[in-house]
Amino acid sequence: MTIPAPLDEVLGELPLVAARLTAPRRVRVDARPENLPALLELLKGRLGFFHLSAISCVDWLEEGQFELVYHVWSDKLKLLLSAHVRIPREPGEYVSIYDLHEPAGFFERDIHEMFGVVFDGALSLDRFILTSWDGPPPMRKDFDARKYAEETFSTVNYHPDWLKDIEAAGGGLEE
């Protein structure tokens, strides 16, 4: 299967966009950050990509970038298109697509809470998931969740007899 012709045409209108078919009905598009809102608007207007399924974010710590993925679904073409953009980790800002797709309101709020990405023009960037959180954005790769959990919560030091027997015989838990 190849990318359907109407979609190929639309994608060809924008510069420097790489597209390929990853599975039947799944198209992956790598776009430049400045082109993405225009791409989404073109897709919505011309090819019926009315449904924003999700916006996800990936933290590439070594490369110093956030990757934002916009998943849109077209009922006309029966195709899910995932548009990937990379933005620099510092300052972690991007434009909001709320006026294009209303569900973006929640997704952008969620990504702001979990990764710290600021969306310019978003409907609201207030916390709603971790309401009493006062630390750094927890989904970032430089946040040590295990250390935080060990410091905040206490756990049972569980050393039962059967484990002692195993350790006496030379075995034990792997760390």
């Binding site: 916390r127 946040f143 969740a145 905040t152 756990t155 030091n157």
Partner: protein
Amino acid sequence: MTDKPLKANERPPAGAEEAAGPAARDAAGPGQACPAPSPQERGVWRKIMDRFADHCRARSLFVLHYCTGCGAIELPPTITSRFDMERVGITPMVTPRQADILLITGYLSIKTLKRVILSYEQMPAPKYVLGFGSCTINGGMYWNSYATVKRLDQYIPTDLFIAGCMPRPEAVQQVLLQLIEDIDSGRANAWRDYYRNYDFYLGNQQALFGPKWNTPTDVIGEAEHYGLAGEGTYGPHTKLLAESGGTPMELARAERPARAITGRRKP
């Protein structure tokens, strides 16, 4: 993963060292279990009535149908036809005021723990808490998560735990029968521990929710009413409680953003 229920028996002895920071670590070694009221203190008539009341209480239990986490998926099979819970007199009820058993099914995020504590304090005594699933025992699958509590019995007193992820209905049945036996013999008294050691529980709650945490229920007043107020009831944390202002509803409103996503913005 063993399916045997574990009894909660770690409580710090009175005057345990409280860390200055946010952690409230358990003192090393087991503390004292919740003692039943001494039988010698009661008269004959009181003993007969208590025996009759315990007999009836054990055979008619209302479970609060509040499904906290993913462990709740094993609750419908236990209630419905195959593993019928009504045979032993257990039925689900919808409000805390009518329920005896609070089942904490699965992990508890900090947000949920607040509401669970509010529900727990609304339930009329005697009440029983069952920790359902490994997440309530020692963190379970979310042992390294920043947003879930690791041990349930540090925040509310728990009678029994059910290990498993999720425990099968057979394990749930076994623990419910164990609870019935405990109630029948007068051993299920963890609810009194909330009043006896309120400072400990309140300290852990304040460590998570902040020093201004308080609930509409006057726990100290209730403790004094039942005659269970002791040295563990008052402490530095209850002093903070007395100074805090605002009910949890006001605190929750302060947390929630003032503006909700309503209406359509014009393009």
